[in-house]
């Protein structure tokens, strides 16, 4: 399994804008089967339910990503992301790490940081984790 790292945009609160943005991110173009996506939310200014719902829908349901982790999220973003995942019955495929805590995905945060100087990465595809 490999991982894709992307930085969430500062603000894209409508579904159409988010979908247009996803279409421009090279690493999110193809089928994402067996790929986990880590989303850096540190620049995200306004979290909206539509943003998280559409993001989860596109990546997990349409492009079949194995897992999404939203990282550096604030409490509001955490609440909205987990609620959207629950609404779509895919809570087991979405995790959120808030700004206070590190990754809820055991070990991955540290490994990605060592490998790619996280945060401030932009986006990068890394090799499979052990």
């Amino acid at each position: 399994m490999s991982d894709v790292l992307v930085s969430a945009p500062k603000s894209l609160g409508t579904r159409d804008l988010l979908r247009a943005w996803v279409e421009q991110v090279p690493d999110l173009q193809d089928d994402l089967t067996n790929i986990s996506v880590v989303v850096d939310c540190s620049q995200l200014q306004t979290a909206t339910p539509s943003f998280f719902d559409e993001f989860i829908k596109i990546l997990v349901l349409e492009r079949h990503a194995t897992h999404i982790e939203f990282r550096e999220a604030n409490e509001r973003a955490r609440h909205l992301a987990l609620r959207s995942a629950a609404n779509r019955h895919i809570s087991d495929r979405v995790t959120v790490a808030t700004r206070k805590e590190r990754s809820t995905w055991t070990g991955l945060g540290r490994q990605l940081k060592e490998r790619s100087n996280w945060p401030g990465l932009g986006r990068q595809r890394s090799k499979a984790l052990p």
Binding site: D16, L17, Q45, T48, S50, K57, S84, N87
Partner: protein
């Protein structure tokens, strides 16, 4: 359409009637004060008049401070831009615009929302806690997205910081359109709910995960906006067709306020939808 301002306070829904098929009559001479909700509803009438090709009759507010406020919000420019009608508002020089956060403007497409969010962040800095700005920005995105996706008609928006009735300061944001309204939006092919009245349509729209789309994750925008605004002790007004519903945050001891419908009433029919959000900010 006729709007005749009278009385001690301006309640759009009491001053508006559908009288007159050929012109829009705006008699604001006795306008004592206006909320953003009232001004956005009036501006929807202006858009409707422009669409229907109606003539305009306009009496300016006699009160100088009301004239200043209406002008600072850009209502005179809005009349000119949309109807080609030039109204002479007796505006005094030296008025401040600092309480106008976003002046009246038409909502073009989703790309308009990002710069407006930046404006809100910039101009609301210092007006209350950061959660207020966040909630207003959420409302901008969610309500703006709804209007663009579901209204099928032109829309407009504005935001101010006001002291309604000289009480505590509030941030107000309102968005309106002259589209198909909430009830008809449920006629879309994917919808499983078909409200028979505008009141029923509002009841469905404020319910979590109920949408005119068949997609199971949809229908969060308006309920989440209401939840955020109510949690801050604010108020949301939803007007569509001939129905108005007001939801307000009910204060509870040592707990976050809870959303509660405080008013549900029939109002003179106005096509489209208006949603107004007010949050106390000091």
């Amino acid at each position: 359409m006729e709007i005749v301002a009278s009385g001690a306070s301006f309640d759009f829904d009491h001053c508006y009637s559908r009288r007159g098929q050929t012109r829009l009559s705006l008699d604001l001479a006795r306008l004592p004060y206006t909320t953003l909700y009232g001004l956005v509803c009036m501006s929807c009438c202006v858009l409707q008049a422009a669409q229907d090709g109606l003539a305009v009759q306009f009496n300016a507010p006699a009160d100088a401070s009301v004239c200043n406020f209406v002008s600072r919000l850009g209502f005179d420019r809005f009349l000119t831009d949309n109807l080609g009608f030039r109204c002479e508002l007796p505006v005094s020089a030296g008025g401040t615009s600092e309480n106008v956060v976003i002046d009246l403007r038409r909502l073009g497409d989703a790309n308009d929302l990002s710069p407006l969010e930046a404006l809100l962040f910039d101009r609301l800095r210092g007006h209350g806690p950061s959660q207020v700005v966040t909630a207003i920005c959420e409302a901008l995105w969610e309500l703006g997205g709804n209007a663009l996706e579901h209204a099928h008609g032109p829309g407009l928006l504005a935001a101010v910081v006001q002291r309604p009735d000289r009480s505590g300061q509030q941030v107000q944001f309102a968005i309106g359109d002259i589209g198909i309204g909430i009830r008809r939006s449920f006629d879309s092919p994917g919808s499983t709910r078909h409200p028979q009245t505008d009141h029923e349509a509002i009841d469905l729209a404020v319910e979590d995960l109920v949408s005119s789309s068949a997609d199971p994750g949809r229908g969060q925008g308006l309920p989440t906006t209401i939840e955020s605004v109510s949690g801050l002790g604010g108020r949301v007004m939803i007007r569509t067709g001939g129905a108005l519903q007001i939801v307000s945050g009910e204060r509870r001891e040592k707990k976050q306020p809870l959303a509660r419908v405080v008013s549900r009433r029939s109002v003179p029919y106005l096509g489209g939808t208006v949603v107004s959000v007010s949050i106390p900010c000091g």
